[in-house]
């Protein structure tokens, strides 16, 4: 066993709070490394990590790749489109072939929920979930928590609003689970057509009035919105979405306190968030991006790094 309770990071659901603390603490130490002129440490020298991306991704993939390189791991990138995967070689064959080349860890993004759990049945490598369908995106939630911790010093008791398409958001799910574990309060806000049944049971409240949520919250995480998914329209127009759920300059200016603004990216400026809000001094969106590298370094180190020798028998 490594430094954490579990061998893999499949989601935040099974990560105990102590491990969340360990990951965040470690991430802050790596964050210092990122501020140095030479940003590379030898921690994972000789380890090989494969980034398996079955869904297009730019920032998460680059973030992981940078994290791996800064830890001196060898990295390989594999991208496949879903169409080639469903038609040709099976998922099982693909991953078993890659593992046969002697690797240590797999970072996987996959469009199907549960795919990383599925993967554990076929390979022995350490698996890090970089997003599985609409299920979980644990590293995103951890980097969000790190950014909040950086801003507020303490996560317990924080009031966080998550705004947008909750149904199709793995970011929302992982954030709700993680924030609840560390004792923050979460309120969800978005079109009722994009609010999944029973989401309260994960430990969040729902409020469809955005102004109330903005007034209540210490920070809001604004999600990317898509009007149409697989031919289904979930709300009538962008204009109407903005009127009800857009984090606009007017709304934020009305508040009588500073509100911290987060966004997992990529942003639709002028749709779910105004440029003035996204670029304001209360926005920590670019800190999130930087912290993403630190959090991923922490996770890679904690799951793939060798334990100090005194722990060995």
């Amino acid at each position: 066993m490594g430094f954490l309770r579990h061998k893999h990071l499949l989601g935040l659901e099974n990560v105990p709070i102590e491990d969340i603390q360990t990951i965040l603490d470690t991430a802050f130490t790596f964050r210092e490394v990122l501020d140095r002129p030479i940003k590379k440490v030898p921690t994972l020298q000789g380890k090989t990590v494969v980034n398996l991306f079955f869904e297009p991704s730019t920032r998460t993939r680059i973030s992981f790749e940078l994290a791996e390189k800064r830890l001196s791991a060898d990295t390989v990138n594999f991208s496949a489109s879903v169409s080639s995967l469903t038609k040709g070689e099976s998922f099982k064959d693909t991953v078993q072939n890659i593992e046969a080349m002697k690797i240590d860890g797999i970072v996987m993004r996959h469009p199907v929920p549960g795919a990383p759990i599925h993967l554990t049945k076929y390979v022995d490598s350490v698996i890090i979930n970089a997003g599985d369908g609409i299920h979980e995106h644990p590293t995103q939630a951890l980097l969000d928590m790190m950014s909040l911790k950086e801003k507020f010093g303490e996560l317990k008791g924080l009031k966080i609003g998550i705004i947008g398409d909750i149904t199709h958001s793995r970011v929302a799910r992982s954030n709700i689970i993680g924030l609840k574990k560390v004792g923050a309060e979460v309120t969800l806000c978005g079109p009722p057509t994009l609010m999944p049944l029973g989401i309260e049971e994960l430990g969040a409240q729902i409020n469809y009035n955005l102004d109330e949520v903005l007034n209540w919250a210490d920070a809001v995480n604004v999600l990317r919105i898509q009007r149409e998914r697989q031919g289904v329209n979930y709300f009538p127009s962008v204009r109407e979405y903005r009127a009800l759920f857009g984090v606009t300059k007017e709304r934020v200016e009305k508040l009588d306190k500073p509100l911290t603004i987060m966004h997992p990216g990529p942003m639709n400026r002028g749709v779910e968030i105004d440029s003035d809000v996204a670029d304001s001094e209360n926005a920590i969106i670019l800190d999130q991006v930087l912290n993403g590298v630190a959090v991923r370094m922490a996770i890679l180190y904690l799951l793939l790094g060798d334990k100090p020798s005194e722990d060995k028998d």
Binding site: L197, G198, E201
Partner: protein, 442 residues
């Protein structure tokens, strides 16, 4: 191919001291059955036989009608890699079934008299009765009615586009009107696709937690209700397959109170499992309609108790290992169910205090009545179709118990109650239990 042990019955075969359950007459007694040349001679409390006779003393075991499954997929023609009429028959025998109705969503579908004849001819040499269900519409496209009368004359016992819901209400109306004159029911897979969309499991707290797109129960209940309403309106005959939700049970209850000609079935997996069982993303639990909540499961059990649901049917749906190894969203729907049907159902229904005789009816006279088959299988001269059950045996189902060509059973590792130790069908004795077989057949 994996086969049960089997042997031709001797000229005279005397089953003695069985706990005989006659689901047709509603009687239970300790008694004997005498079979001559594969046909029933007598069923009674004590039969005196003077001729030389092979005796099979089944003291402590239940003997009853062979089971009848009115909903199975044997995948022939087209997907013989998953199942064939031959391998499906072995799975049926292992589960105590002597009659199985096969669904027409094959490749090509059974949508013509020629394809119905193909099944009937292939089935003549098989150890069970295989009766084909024809499609409602040509090519299962949901538009033009298939040649129902011609298919009926070749041996089709019902009509269904199973797997694909009949969305067009007008087509369903005409199908019900047309098939009623032929005298067989329409079976419509009720799931409104505009509500189901890309759904993968029951919509509720578990789908939200797992991040799988949900299938709301109303996608079933509104289509069941539509089907029932049209049936009431035109006076047709409708059979509702694999009922999965509480609301659908309520709709069927109302339709039955109206005395509409409506019947319904439930699968053993909807009785045994709930949506929380999908927590590990095991694709073997992915079925259509989906496995729903504990409340729905209780409603299905109550539906059986008070007769709103008429019978149990397996929806035996074999798929290859490769297909079921795909990530959840991409894996096909369905699980095999013949081998586990009785053990799983009796396990659940025993816990819910439903008497054995009633459970036996759900597998014998009730499904046979729906499709108009012979009900009195203990009548003189009838081809012997019997199952011998150890109803007290608790056992854990594993891959060794599978006779199907596929292995996609969510019951692997689950405890079941009641085991079919032997079957008599087509003048032969079948058993998957070596000890039992050698005791009576050596």
């Amino acid at each position: 191919m994996k086969k049960l042990l089997s042997k031709r019955l001797p000229h005279l075969f005397h089953i003695k001291n069985g706990n005989i359950i006659d689901p047709f007459k509603g009687k239970e007694f300790v008694g004997d059955i005498l079979i001559k040349n594969g046909k029933i001679v007598e069923v009674g409390e004590k039969i005196e036989v003077t001729d030389e006779v092979a005796v099979c003393d089944v003291q402590g075991l239940v003997v009853t009608h062979g089971f009848c499954d009115i909903h199975a997929h044997f995948r022939e023609p087209g997907r013989e890699d998953k199942e064939t009429l031959t391998t499906g028959s072995q799975a049926a025998l292992a589960g105590g079934f002597t009659t199985v109705c096969v669904m027409p969503n094959t490749d090509p579908p059974l949508d013509s008299p020629e394809s119905i004849r193909f099944i009937c001819e292939k089935a003549t040499d098989l150890p069970i009765n295989i009766l084909p269900i024809g499609t409602i519409t040509k090519g299962m496209k949901g538009r033009e009615l298939s040649e129902m009368n011609a298919m009926y004359e070749e041996g089709a016992v019902a009509f269904s586009d199973d797997g694909l819901p009949l969305v067009d209400s007008g087509v369903l109306r005409r199908a019900l009107e047309y098939s009623y004159r032929i005298g067989v029911p329409i079976i419509n897979h009720a799931e409104d696709p505009t509500l189901k969309l890309t759904g993968q499991m029951h919509e509720g707290r578990w789908s939200t937690k797992l991040g799988l797109i949900g299938i709301p129960y109303v996608s079933e209940s509104i289509m069941v209700n539509r089907d029932l309403q049209i049936t009431g309106f035109v006076g047709g005959r409708l059979h509702v397959p694999h009922v999965s939700s509480e609301k659908s049970v309520e709709c069927i209850r109302i339709a039955k109170d109206e005395k509409w000609l409506v019947t319904a079935e439930v699968t053993p997996h909807h009785l045994y499992f709930t949506d929380s069982d999908l927590g590990g993303y095991n694709t073997y639990f992915k079925v259509a309609p989906p496995i729903r909540t504990e409340e729905d499961r209780q409603a299905l059990i109550n539906g059986l108790k008070d007769g709103v649901i008429d019978c149990i049917a397996t929806d035996h749906a074999p798929h290859t290992v490769e297909e079921k190894e795909l990530p959840f969203d991409w894996a096909p729907n369905g699980m095999i169910g013949l081998e586990t049907a009785f053990g799983a159902s009796w396990y659940v229904l025993f816990e819910n205090k439903i008497p054995l005789r009633k459970v036996i009816e759900l597998f014998t006279v009730n499904p046979r009545r729906i499709l108009g088959f012979e009900l009195d299988l203990f009548r003189y001269g009838v081809e012997a179709e019997l199952v011998i059950l150890d109803v007290e045996k608790k056992w854990v189902f594993n891959e060794d118990h599978i006779y199907s060509k596929s292995r996609n059973s969510a019951f692997i590792g689950k405890e079941l109650l009641g085991y079919p130790v032997g079957v008599i069908s087509t003048n032969r004795f079948y058993s998957g239990d070596e000890t039992f077989f050698s005791k009576y057949m050596s």
